[in-house]
């Protein structure tokens, strides 16, 4: 396992296996973030989401975010895994795992990584409702 892992998958993300593969004897903390497909809060329920990506670019961006986290905080390893394709409510679209000797930098790095992913990774999603679908447009892409 590398110190920085970025992966794009189309099957469910096995977060437990991912975290187990990262941890080592010198780690005292593992912080995991999972983004999950949730129901809308309005009247019309979400049926499912479709994620698509510019995969080569997205992978490179995810790797850069992992590297940035390791450059900025004294952490051990970072893995960022994004799932594409059709996802149902409750499924994990993204998992970020950070291992570290101490907990504070692991929390900081994990949080920073998900904030960056949402702004600067070439991935898009379309939300499907009973009466139609819409591209969810979040943030104008940043470097």
């Amino acid at each position: 396992m590398q110190h920085e892992t970025a992966e794009i998958v189309r099957a469910p993300i096995d977060v437990a296996a991912l975290a187990a593969g990262l941890r080592r004897g010198e780690d005292g903390a593992v912080v995991v973030f999972e983004g999950i497909v949730r129901n809308g809060s309005g009247g019309c329920p979400t049926l499912y989401l479709e994620y698509e990506g510019y995969e080569a670019m997205a992978l490179e961006q995810m790797r850069a975010i992992a590297g940035e986290a390791r450059a900025r905080w004294p952490i051990d390893r970072v893995a960022i895994v994004h799932r594409l394709g059709r996802l149902e409510i409750g499924e994990t679209s993204i998992a970020i795992v950070v291992t570290s000797a101490h907990r504070a930098p692991a929390f900081d790095a994990c949080r920073h990584a998900i904030d960056r992913v949402k702004k600067s990774v070439a991935i898009w999603k379309k939300e499907y409702f009973a009466d139609g679908a819409v591209w969810v447009e979040g943030e104008v892409m940043q470097k």
Partner: protein
């Protein structure tokens, strides 16, 4: 010269395809390529401010020159990770389009 052009998200639906090959004049920059698509697809013109261009998988400014064989991508606002709060508003707006 020829470049490959990729479209994602809403741009892909506006253009009606995921990718195509485009012939561009020598000395053309990314801005001129964008404008040529914006003329064909007025909805794309409205998205100029929010659509980022990439050249060979790196974000690039409109003033960057194209080279033969380049891969250009039109990238609307991204929405990786999990749900964005803005979804419902955007949907209503889309419905009003």
């Amino acid at each position: 010269m020829r470049v490959r052009v990729l479209f994602f998200g809403r741009v892909k639906e506006i253009v009606g395809r995921a990718e195509e090959t485009a012939d561009v004049e020598d000395g053309a920059d990314l801005g001129s390529l964008f404008r040529s698509y914006a003329r064909r697809f007025p909805q794309l013109a409205e998205m100029e401010r929010s659509t980022v261009l990439a050249r060979n998988q790196k974000i690039a400014s409109h003033s960057e020159f194209l080279a033969d064989g380049d891969e250009v991508a039109f990238l609307p606002p991204v929405s990786g990770g999990m749900k964005h709060r803005a979804a419902r508003n955007r949907r209503n707006r889309a419905g009003a389009d």
